[in-house]
Amino acid sequence: MNPGRCAACRYLRRKCPPDCIFSPHFPPNVPQRFVSVHRIYGASNVAKLLQQLPSHLRAEAAESLCLEAQYRIEDPVYGCVGLVSSLQQQIQDTEKQLAKTRAEIAFLKSQARLSHAALEGNLLDNAVNINFSDHQSFHG
């Protein structure tokens, strides 16, 4: 019995070769990771997927597979797609709130500009009237 086998080879009850595709990503001290991906994807599919990737991307791929497998085990109907739907809905709702708030700001700005313009107009009228009446009283 080889104590150095990775979690995958232990689970599959086989020898763990030096170039085992699973061993860098499924260490023996975390057996549940491989159990999850094996249950959802199968060892063969996981091996094919990892093999088709450059070696520097395999760790991320293994991690995302483990995460998706875990979501699917916890929610067999929707898996991680439930979270996608939920986020998309939240984004739509937040975009609506943002549009509404910006519209309210734009409204307040337009109201303020109208008020300023009206105020400036009144001040100008008053100034003209005062000058005219002064002119009249001066010239009789």
Binding site: I40, Q52, T94
Partner: protein, 170 residues
């Protein structure tokens, strides 16, 4: 010819791909119609027929259509992005959500300020409504946050792969 039974052509997409006889109680037949061969092909490629069958058997019948649709969605995402699959899409959406929450908080703060002091309208603060913020604490928790930080560059390049205009049927 008289007495000869017509050959059945009602094999589902799964049995056609697996080259086997489609029985009346085939677990796949209601969900993988023969006119949608690619759907089962993708699911089979990612999950395997045997695993799909086991997943379907363990869910109630009335939820199997939803299950198949979510498996198809995940398979599609994984085939498009073999490294991150659906998790990549989730990370992108979470980042988008965080940005939106930022923008909304800024807009609400501006609105509150304008409502309180109308004289502040027209000041240079208007630009904060549209300028994106810098760092912001992640609003969404869970281990996907690690992915969000690690894959931000790659996802920005790959964002076009995810069609977020369609909400999954869920």
């Amino acid at each position: 010819m008289r007495g000869q039974e017509p050959r059945s052509t009602s094999s589902c997409a799964a049995c056609k791909l697996l080259k086997r006889r489609c029985t009346p109680n085939c677990i796949f037949a209601p969900y993988f119609r023969s006119d949608e061969p690619k759907k089962f092909a993708k699911v089979h490629k990612v999950f395997g027929a045997s695993n799909v069958s086991k997943i379907l058997i363990e869910v109630p019948e009335e939820q199997r259509q939803d299950t198949v649709n979510s498996l198809a969605y995940e398979a599609e995402a994984r085939l498009r992005d073999p490294v991150y699959g659906c998790i990549g899409a989730i990370a992108l959406l979470q980042r988008k959500m965080i940005q939106l929450q930022h923008d909304l908080a800024l807009a609400r703060a501006c609105l509150a300020r304008y409502a309180a002091t109308p004289s502040s309208i027209g000041s240079t603060d208007d630009r904060v409504i549209t300028e994106p913020f810098g760092d912001f604490p992640a609003a969404c928790g869970g281990s996907i946050d690690t992915f969000s930080q690690n894959i931000s560059y790659e996802l920005n390049q790959e964002a076009h792969m995810y069609d977020f205009s369609q909400i999954p049927y869920v």
